[in-house]
């Protein structure tokens, strides 16, 4: 199975608590209102455990790790 994972966010659930940006600042920064801006593209291998921690720690369950969409597939 491919290990290309990306961070998906449910924008309606997200409340801007900001834990994710503290747990994986390499991939997530906050905008001026405290809401996450997630780096585009797959999560690098060495950050996957951090990303998993961010997903698990989100108090409103707004984050998920999912298979990166492959562009070639319809």
């Amino acid at each position: 199975m491919s290990k290309h994972l990306e961070i998906a966010i449910d924008r309606i659930r997200c409340d801007g608590r900001g834990l994710c940006a503290e747990l994986v600042p390499e991939l997530i920064r906050l905008d001026d209102w405290g809401y996450p801006i997630i780096a585009a593209g797959p999560v690098p291998q060495h950050l996957i455990s951090h990303a998993q921690k961010a997903v698990a720690s989100c108090p409103v369950l707004a984050l998920a790790l999912r298979q990166a969409e492959r562009r070639s597939r319809e």
Binding site: R11, I12, C14, D15, G16, D31, D32, W33, Y35, I37
Partner: protein, 406 residues
Amino acid sequence: MSRLRLLAGPDLSLGAERLHAHIERLGPPPVVRGALIDVLETSGLTGRGGASFPVARKWRSVAHHGSGPVVVANGAEGEPQSLKDRVLMSTRPHLVLDGALLAARALKASQVVLYVGEEHRASWAAMAGALAQRPEPELRRARLVAAPHRYVAGESSAAVHLLEASIASPTSKPPEPHIAGVGGAPTLVQNVETLAHIALIGRYGADWFRSAGRRGGAGTVLITIAGAVPSPGVVEIEAGTTVREVLDMAGGSDPAARAVLIGGYFGAWVDFTTAQDLALDPAALREHGLGLGCGVVGVISARGCGVCETARIMRYLAGESSAQCGPCFFGLRALADACGRIAEKGSNADDLARLHRWARDVRGRGACRHPDGAVTFLQSALHTFAPEFSAHPAHWRAQAPGRGVA
């Protein structure tokens, strides 16, 4: 240039065409089967609600993702500048119903819903009256549902949400409504003008549809001409007609006019001179990084102020956020405030820098495309009115009565 199809027939001032007159003029709705999807594909018809999405592709997705789909005729028309859907619904309701009927039959739909803006009284009356005249079982069972008077109410997931839970705010995707919408069934949310075209394509075919259109465009398009022109209103044009030709149909415009808003509030400002030769066709506009959107062409006069007009529209769009996603709710408000400060108190470098940065930050970060549409509009203003934004005096200029675009 003007070849009437949707708006052919009796004078529009006579109001809603009745069923017997409609059938006398065009014949009964044709018998269609699944092959209508192939015909639509050949016709090249794209959606007229704003996104210009290929109709056949949406239908195939609906047909593919489950049985008993729902057909929603979308006449919410929340865009303040746009009049074309309500003109169509209030004068040619049976074209819209024919299109909905053909969709329901081709896709074997379990129900048909007519979703009409609550504030469009004439459209509502015409659609209700027309529905009562129809004998077809699919339409006898159809529901007429009021779309709340909100900009986002016409977004497809908001329409589905309203039908499911009486809340007209967009929902998180996936799933897209055409995959799983009302009651989990695939749901075709299709703009009423698109359905009216389908009513005619079902009768006369794809080649007929493509026989209108200029400079590579296919078929006809309803356009709302707004702002600084002698006679604003709705016209039907061949796809690919230029902005200059369209403005001539509205009595011409002041050659010193400053800019044209193409596509409505999710569209873009284009310098007036540059806009003249643009062909109004989704594919042709895309080559210039523009979109046809809901078909609004709005002119701002030489006396108007692009910064003040933009500030007004941004304030409106910020207020129309459904307040569900932080970047949209807070971001659009902050952008509208910064625009307002420049309009009211004059240019300042800090606000200008914030506008550019926040517009980039907000894009792509909502459950629906409301924030994307708003920042596309804003970025076009920052580009087209760059001199005004960097040297704006402390005024909040009034619109000349009846002359503003906002």
